[in-house]
């Protein structure tokens, strides 16, 4: 409770209400007002989320900050929300990212400012709702609702091919989640009329049904993550999305998939998870190796980072299906870290794009001569993307590789190729963009970071270094939850 309000509800609804208030500021005459409300609202949203961490009891795996009210009595649908060690860090990541995207769009968005800011705030609240929902219907509503703001962000403020990208994004993810709804209805029936996710965790289900449920969830989550081969919407969506959209997409939206596996697939269908683990691991390793090679050949910076996102998310799904603490906690750390790093990488490309309106690597070269401060930040994030120890990028990959070797040496072997590929595609891009003599008159005219951009990148730099040097506080809160989950999925539910 915060000033008499239930904390978790506040974290979900405050950004949504602020978002609606921003929409009410109307046309671009009131753009400055819209920006300031958005900034205040998003920072407030982050501040009120902090008690989730400080008030969190890491010694229990039970849901905390729980609220439970009847929603549709006849269908047994409840407004049931709560967090555990898995969802809490993701909510914090989301609340942390929102002010950053508001600042990132501060100057560059000059049209329909209120709608743009409103969309991000509303999306932030909705995503918090996804992570906090303990009721399947509530979850599904938030899940699908989160598509709409992102669809609009890409479709309205995106690049030239934005309509194709927006529709591809929307259809891909919508088709994926429809089967999830079918799975929920099946679970509702077989649980005797409950939509409570926790009830589903305890529900015994025969293997054939578990496999079907697993596959239904898989389509929904694999598209979000995205896993190979349902990843092709991501590069298009990223290339067309405005910078802020890319940041949220990479830092937050992809995590919904990883979270889905942890909350639904593994605990509801543990036997199917074990049964299909090798397939999941194979898909994840393909993501790491295949996508790593594909990323190498990209000529468009955003596409390159999009592909690198897919490869990094491959570590998340790999970690989840190793069924040991290294793997699952590594996957969690990787999700948080990827939130920081991919967000930062897209912001860096945004900084360049805002100046030259090109994302092509070939249009740059020698940027360091004109933008030394930018080059330094970009170097840090590039190294983090390549998984350098001391940055957050290393921690998750390290943990997952440690977990993988326990299952099979060759899984670890293939996963560890990211050490080479990750460095190759990231640093090769860095070299072509940043190093060298000034390549063109337009590069000659570049100016270094503005104060606003500097603050933005500095915040992320601190986050990346902090998580790399001292990840203990993060893993500390998820321990008991992960242990409990591992315990749960090691027991058959047949």
């Amino acid at each position: 409770m915060l000033f008499g309000f239930p904390l978790l509800s506040l974290i979900i609804w405050l950004p949504i209400l602020v978002g609606i208030a921003i929409l009410a500021t109307g046309g671009d005459r009131n753009a400055p007002l819209a920006r300031w409300i958005a900034l205040t609202g998003s920072i407030l949203g982050f501040l009120i989320a902090l008690p989730l961490y400080t008030g969190f009891d890491p010694a229990t795996s039970a849901m905390q900050f729980v609220e439970n009210h009847v929603w549709f009595e006849r269908l047994n649908v409840y407004y049931h929300i709560g967090v555990d060690g898995i969802s809490m860090p993701l909510i914090l990541l989301n609340c942390f990212t929102t002010p950053l995207v508001v600042i990132a769009g501060w100057q560059i968005i000059q049209e329909r400012v209120s709608q743009y800011m409103g969309a991000f705030l509303i999306m932030s609240g909705i995503v918090n709702g996804v992570f906090a929902s303990m009721d399947a219907v509530l979850f599904y509503v938030f899940w699908e609702a989160s598509l709409i703001p992102m669809f609009l962000i890409i479709g309205i403020w995106g690049g030239p091919n934005r309509v194709y990208a927006a529709i591809k994004f929307f259809l891909y993810t919508l088709l994926g989640s429809l089967l999830m709804l079918v799975a929920f209805i099946y679970l509702y029936q077989s649980s005797g009329g409950s939509f409570s996710i926790i009830d589903y965790h305890q529900l015994p289900i025969p293997l054939s049904a578990q496999i079907l449920i697993f596959v239904a969830f898989l389509l929904a989550f694999a598209v979000k993550v995205p896993m190979w081969p349902v990843h092709t919407w991501l590069p298009d969506a990223h290339v067309e999305a405005p910078t802020g959209g890319s940041v949220v997409l990479a830092a937050i939206m992809l995590k919904l998939g990883g979270y889905g596996f942890l909350r639904f697939s593994l605990p509801i269908a543990p036997d199917a998870s074990h049964y299909l683990a090798e397939m999941m691991i194979a898909l994840s390793l393909i993501a790491v190796v295949y996508i790593g090679l594909v990323a190498l050949m990209q000529a468009d910076m955003k596409k390159l980072i999009a592909y690198s996102s897919i490869a990094h998310m491959g570590f998340v799904t790999l970690g989840l299906f190793l069924f040991n603490a290294y793997g699952i906690e590594g996957a969690m750390v990787q999700m948080i870290s990827h939130g920081f790093i991919s967000g930062a990488m897209f912001l860096c490309v945004g900084v360049l794009y805002d100046r030259l309106h090109s994302r092509q690597i070939a249009d740059y070269g020698g940027v360091v001569n004109k933008m030394p401060a930018f080059a330094a930040f970009f170097m840090l994030f590039a190294m983090a993307n390549a998984g350098l120890p001391g940055t957050s990028g290393f921690v998750g990959e390290f943990m997952v590789i440690m977990g993988a070797v326990k299952v099979n040496f060759w899984y670890a072997f293939l996963a560890a190729t990211t050490l080479i590929f990750g460095a190759a595609y990231t640093l090769w891009m860095y070299k072509r963009v940043i190093f060298g003599a000034i390549a063109s008159p337009s590069v000659e005219g570049l100016r270094d970071l503005s104060k606003r951009e500097f603050v933005l990148l500095a915040i992320l730099a601190i986050a990346v270094l902090w998580l790399g040097v001292y990840p203990f506080p993060l893993t500390d809160v998820m321990h008991v939850t992960v242990d409990n989950l591992l315990d749960h999925i090691s027991n058959s539910k047949l």
């Binding site: 591809k168 891909y172 081969p229 092709t232 919407w233 295949y290 090679l293 594909v294 990323a295 190498l296 050949m297 990209q298 040991n324 603490a325 290294y326 906690e329 590594g330 020698g366 360091v368 001569n369 170097m379 190294m383 350098l388 120890p389 001391g390 290393f394 921690v395 390290f398 943990m399 590789i401 440690m402 993988a404 070797v405 326990k406 040496f409 670890a412 072997f413 560890a416 190729t417 050490l419 080479i420 590929f421 460095a423 190759a424 640093l427 090769w428 070299k431 940043i434 190093f435 060298g436 003599a437 040097v469 001292y470 990840p471 203990f472 893993t475 500390d476 321990h479």
Partner: protein
Amino acid sequence: MQTLYLLVPLAPLVGAIVAGLFGRYIGTVWSHRITISFVFISFLASLIIFRDVLNGNVFNGTVYTWLVTGDTSFEIGFLIDQLSATMMVVVSLVSLMVHIYTIGYMQGDPGYQRFFSYISLFTFSMMMLVMSNNFLQLFFGWEAVGLVSYLLIGFWYTRPTATYANLKAFLVNRVGDFGFLLGIALVLMHFGTLDYAGVFAQAPDLAGESFEFIPGSSWLVITVICILLFIGAMGKSAQFPLHVWLPDSMEGPTPISALIHAATMVTAGIFMVARMSPLFELSDVALSVVLVAGGITTLFMAFVAVVQNDIKRVVAYSTLSQLGYMTVALGASAYSAAIFHLMTHAFFKAVLFLGAGSVIIAMHHEQNMEKMGGLKKYMPITYWTMFIAALASAGVPGFSGFFSKDAIIEAVAFADIPYAGFAYFCVLATVFVTALYTFRLLFMTFHGKPRMDEHTKSHLHESPWVVTLPLVVLAIPTVGAGWFIGPIVFGDYFENVIYVLPEHAAIEKLAAEFTGIGGMMLHALVTAPFWLSLAGILTAWYLYTIRTDIPAKIKTIFGPVYTILDKKYYIDELYSWLFAGGARALGSGLWKIGDIKLIDGFIVNGSAKLVAGFAVLAKRFQTGYIYHYAFTMIVGIFAILTIWLY
């Protein structure tokens, strides 16, 4: 004392942060003053710790808990014993000298503060590496020195060759780290901890355990672990076949070539294997791999050094070859000799590099030795210090390099590990080649007729004191460090630190014959290495001062051999074709065929087209024209009736 331990790495880190973030505001002078003072603090602290360790106070403890996952706790901690204390003194001394030298070498460079920031950051990283008490922190330091090396090779980032070289260095090192990390993963899996103490204590229990590494073939766990760890060492210490990055790293400014790519960072692999002696001792196969890689590197890289004309490249290939010596020593279980050679090499190679840098300053950044000659009278301090270092490098009795190298050669002769014979041949033959290329460098640069243009010649002068002081200071251990061979290699200095199996006791056999440094020098007069070395020096003297026309003739007569050496055995070409080209072709194929054609073209857009196709078909039935509907109805009724009646 524990505060001092923290001070050793943290002081340079503070210096690096100050110079890096605020260098623009505090200016060049304060940048070097601050970083040098902090490195000096680190050096003093290292000395005090060294003395403390000599008094028997070793330390093994945790600084903070990095991460807890499952039932394992990963910690950042220090292990201060004879090995780490020795490394700390060597690293901080060379680093301090290089910091001072940099004032002269980098004068007027626009990246002056940045350079100081980087070398201080390097000192921090290297200290974390050598002081670590666990594999994780070792890997941290390992990659961090790689990062700084990357930044410094590409320091002059507008040069295409520099940014090519730094990318290459990072990626080749990453190949090594790939093996290293897998080795660490196997260690964690089999020992349940990454702490050295815990791992080494359990190592003997695991000695006989094997697993199906490749389906259908059983491998000793320890062998696999050690080979993987050694792959890491091959990357960092530039052993064949991962040596290709080191010569190119000479694109960086000379001070870092001395500090990072000769004296300290590249020896991290040697240090690591010595640290892991309780593991490597348990696997003869791994030791053989180490011997062979070291032997090949020693001999074949020395050959390349003979044909180089770039003064820095000669020293670079010499470094490769000397690292090969250390590796061979490791493979022969002569860990203490390897560390001893690491130490003497750090000093004499630093002098050679810094001296080369001094020459390069005088020559206005000309590095081609064919355009030098006769510099002796213009730069006496540089000449004499380099002369001493060359004697040490060639292994002339009395100088530090002699003792360490001789110990290695003798130890390999005593070793019983498979392929020790091959390695012995390599290290012995290389003695001649080493003396040849080292003195070729000296004679081509400092003796004979000046071959530079008049303008350069008129400006020739000795370098300022900030450059010559480090040369003189480092020349002292270049001569004298070897005299401590008795206690360090043959004594009990590394007792409880380095572990050698009784059946691998090459050093112990050697120690039995050791009668003091005087005896060792006298004994050398009747052994092959001394005469090979002398022959090398004389050959170089004859070819490069007396009959300077002969080398050109040799070049024409042995054309193909010369070309192969000049092209470094075409390994670079092979790698860039096979690995860089291969990865690009594969990536391009997967992208254009896998992603664009198959997944997007066939499945995603294909299903969209399928839906659209159905829609077009369905649209035909709903045109809105009554006669279309009427016609369809008639056809339909006709069809139904047909079925009905049939």
